[in-house]
């Protein structure tokens, strides 16, 4: 064992954290304990979150905003209270800067549609090769529609954004820069603040895909310097079916609506309609009410533990895992191999065994990892690999689970006779 592995230390009381997540003590087929190393895909939920959802449905359920009765007032207070909680959690200066969507994919489409709608031929949008598909496809679609040009940062051999041509990429034609804060495939943490300053220097907007950042890092959007930031509920120990778009209020107020329908209107006439101010303008139809309430409980839960502690734990686990994985023969890590600026996801290849087969064999030992391109095909193409295996960690991940992974990979090698 290397030093890093023997000296593991985390500020979290893992036993008490894990007690909040009933699924972690679930038995899998064959009586195996669960080793859940797929949190970058979707996090597990503490009982506090599930309880909040249940309470809402069984005691306070009603539609919001429009309902004038007591249940309606309670549901509205719960929904709008969740907006307050989320605003505080990410340091938004104004609660009206928080738009609830169904996931971050919708949030990014909303941005591409409304901000991108005014793009013209000659304008440029800059993304990167390490983006999740949800921060690629919406931009491809809007560029195709408007005639704008899509450009992208490359990725260096060690899995960092290739900034060597940054001043060429971000130029006076650039209207939007949209980047992931933490890569879900490589784990890379990108220098958003610096890049936001570059974007602003040429008058471009900075959009941040914080789907993997908000779960792991203490976030303050006011300090980040970005204009629009999105994240998704199910990765922050919250429910599926809810995402968040934060935007500077004056920017949001200048944008046209995205989806049309109830709640987002001011006056509807058959001959034309006017629209409500943000955030309502962007929340057409009955919003994900119980899901926002669950998300509120989730950010309360994370704040209660402390995002600084969670970040420290994540760092310690990543360091431990990197060291452990390096002991597996034939294993190549995609992306940064040091824990510095490394989020809680590590993708790797194992010589002679296809990632699906790695994942399936690990699964028969109760170890849940992801195999494929993790919705980030271009970065796999960049590294010349068809797919990879990814292990990802969260506040409940223990060093013993990392050991189980490392041992499991040894078994995979012997099973496929590559050892």
């Amino acid at each position: 064992m290397t030093d890093a592995r023997t000296t593991f230390s985390s500020p979290l009381d893992l036993q008490s954290v894990r007690a909040d997540f009933p699924i972690l003590s679930r038995e899998l087929a064959g009586g195996l304990p669960l080793v859940y190393l797929d949190s970058a895909n979707s996090s597990q939920k503490p009982r506090q979150v599930v309880q909040a959802i249940e309470d809402h449905y069984l005691k306070h359920n009603a539609n919001v905003a429009r309902a004038m009765h007591q249940l309606g007032a309670e549901a509205t207070a719960a929904y709008e209270g969740a907006r307050d909680k989320v605003a505080a959690f990410i340091g938004a200066p104004d609660r009206n800067e928080i738009v609830f969507t169904k996931n971050i994919s919708e949030a990014l489409n909303l941005v591409a549609h409304t901000v991108g709608g005014s793009l013209k031929p000659g304008d440029e949008v800059v993304i990167s090769e390490m983006e999740h598909h949800s921060n690629i496809v919406p931009w491809q679609m809007v560029c195709e529609r408007t005639g704008a040009t899509l450009k992208w940062f490359g990725v260096t051999d060690d899995g960092r954004l290739d900034l060597s041509n940054v001043d060429e990429l971000i130029n006076e034609r650039t209207k939007i820069v949209s980047l992931t804060w933490v890569s879900n495939a490589l784990g890379t943490i990108n220098p958003i603040k610096e890049l936001a300053a570059k974007a602003h220097a040429v008058g471009a907007l900075m959009v941040v895909d914080a789907a993997q950042a908000v779960p792991q890092l203490p976030v303050n959007v006011a300090e980040l310097g970005a204009d629009l930031v999105g994240f998704t509920g199910h990765k922050v120990v919250g429910p599926t079916g809810v995402g968040v778009l934060w935007g500077r209020y004056d920017l949001l107020a200048s944008l046209p609506p995205f989806l049309g329908g109830g709640e987002m209107i001011e006056v509807v006439r058959m001959t034309g309609s006017t629209y409500a101010p943000p955030p309502a303008r962007f929340e057409a139809g009955t919003p994900p009410i119980a899901q926002a309430v669950g998300l509120g409980a989730a950010v309360d839960y994370l704040s209660g533990i402390g995002m600084d502690k969670i970040a420290a734990h994540e760092h310690a686990i990543v360091e431990y895992a990197l060291e452990g994985l390096k002991t597996v023969p034939g294993l190549t890590i995609l992306g940064p191999t040091e824990a510095k600026d490394h989020g809680g996801a590590i993708s790797f290849e194992l010589d002679g065994v296809h990632p699906h087969d790695v994942a399936t064999v690990l699964d028969t030992r109760g170890i849940a990892v992801r195999a494929g391109h993790h919705c980030a095909r271009p970065v796999h193409e960049r590294f010349g690999v068809q797919s990879s295996t990814r292990a990802s960690f969260y506040l409940y991940t223990t060093p013993e689970e990392i050991e189980a992974l490392v041992d499991g990979l040894g078994f995979v090698r012997s099973f496929f006779k590559v050892a």
């Binding site: 004038m68 709640e263 409500a276």
Partner: protein, 160 residues
């Protein structure tokens, strides 16, 4: 009991015979505000003389609370400096958002204290604020408009 605390006689009186209705001429700015969740609407005109609110008139469709609140607001603000009207608004807002825990200041709010009970009906708070938001919007615009006219006059430029 809860009901009577909401629908105080003062409110019902203002509702039945609201003050300052009928849109007067001349005026500086007219605005139209709506409460999209329920459909209440108010058209409101404001006239300023320098920093003083010399006139407010309004026409509205809406419930007793929104109509009465607009009526009371007009009474409170007409003849006062804009800053004082805004301060009164802040007091009223504080009362509305207090969920019943704020003691209303009768000195400042006069008939407005009758709305104390509204704070216990969160869904109705918007009704009580509709006229106020129209007035604040109209006044802000009127101030900006008058300022730019003054500036234009000082520069000797005349606007059509």
């Amino acid at each position: 009991m809860q009901l009577d605390s909401l629908y105080q006689e003062i409110i019902l009186d203002h509702y039945r015979s609201p003050h300052h209705t009928g849109l007067a001429d001349p005026y500086d700015v007219e605005v139209h505000h709506v409460n999209p969740s329920c459909g209440d609407e108010v058209t409101l005109r404001v006239e300023l003389d320098g920093d003083t609110v010399t006139g407010i008139t309004h026409e509205s469709v809406g419930c007793s609370i929104s109509q009465a609140a607009t009526s009371v607001m007009s009474d409170l603000v007409i003849g006062k400096p804009v800053a004082e009207g805004m301060a009164t608004y802040e007091k009223f807002l504080e009362l509305m958002q207090g969920r019943g825990n704020v003691e209303p200041d009768e000195e400042v709010l006069e008939d407005g204290v009758a709305f104390a009970g509204v704070a216990q009906f969160p869904a109705r708070v918007k009704c009580a604020l509709l006229g106020w938001s129209a007035w604040r919007d109209a006044t802000a615009r009127a101030l900006a408009q008058n300022e730019s006219q003054d500036a234009a006059q000082q520069e000797g430029v005349s606007n059509a």
